[in-house]
């Protein structure tokens, strides 16, 4: 985030523009996008290379660390990226402060809750008994 010449030295050190916050959110969205570029292509390629998509085959695959670890990362990063992206959309269209807070709170709960459900299911698969 460029502050240009108008920032005071202290403001430059703190990284504060006139918006005071948002730089970190902006950067996180981009960092997670690059991670998802890799993880998303990994998931699609993996599913295409599996001999079949029946339950047994997929469970055996997710039982291996080389699949479970990227899948865990995919879950965490995709829910985070979705939350960050949806917040931008919500902030653009829901202006009234009370409504904005309520919708963003709902989004946060949905993202954290959904991510937890997906991670728990993956943990059951990865740490469970033989498929």
């Amino acid at each position: 985030m460029s502050l240009g010449e108008s920032a005071t030295p202290l403001g430059r050190v703190r990284g504060l523009g006139s918006a005071r916050e948002g730089g970190e959110h902006w950067l996180t969205e981009r960092v997670t996008s690059i991670a998802l570029l890799l993880l998303g292509v990994w998931l699609i390629a993996s599913l295409l290379f599996l001999p079949a998509l029946d339950q047994r085959t997929v469970l055996e695959w997710l039982h291996t660390p080389s699949a479970a670890v990227p899948m865990a990362l995919l879950i965490i990063v995709s829910f985070r990226h979705a939350l960050d992206g949806m917040k931008v959309v919500v902030d653009d269209y829901v202006h009234e402060p009370g409504n904005n807070f309520a919708v963003n709170l709902l989004l946060l709960f949905l993202a954290v809750g959904g991510g937890a459900i997906a991670l728990f299911a993956l943990a059951r698969i990865a740490f469970g008994g033989a498929a």
């Binding site: 981009r30 699609i44 339950q55 959904g114 997906a118």
Partner: protein, 110 residues
């Protein structure tokens, strides 16, 4: 303009529908054979296939226009001709990738 709007629409679609499908798939996998049969049946249903094709296209479109945004974040690609060509490339690329993937899945993997 269109590509910028599509970036939002596909992003929202992937966030809501895409993550719901991913979570359903994982919970069905962990939930036993009945749960997975329910998921498989829905996924193989014509409506399910339309949703999955739509999600695949949304993923590729969002990925390609995302790359375009990352390039533009560096300050490059704002010249009118280049900007428009890059935008059109994301549309053509996402359709080609989606078609290639689903022709392969439906013709060779069934």
């Amino acid at each position: 303009m269109l590509v910028s709007i599509l970036h939002r629409v596909t992003g929202a679609g992937l966030s809501i529908v895409g993550l719901a499908v991913l979570t359903w798939w994982l919970t069905a996998l962990a939930g036993g054979s009945d749960a997975y049969a329910t998921f498989s049946k829905a996924a193989a249903h014509p409506v399910g296939i339309v949703v999955l094709v739509g999600l695949t296209w949304a993923f590729f479109q969002h990925l390609l226009s995302g790359i375009r945004h990352l390039v533009m974040d560096t300050g490059a690609g704002y010249e009118l001709g280049i900007n428009k060509r890059f935008a059109i490339l994301t549309l053509v690329g996402s359709i080609l990738l989606t078609a290639a993937l689903w022709i392969y899945v439906l013709e060779y993997r069934r």
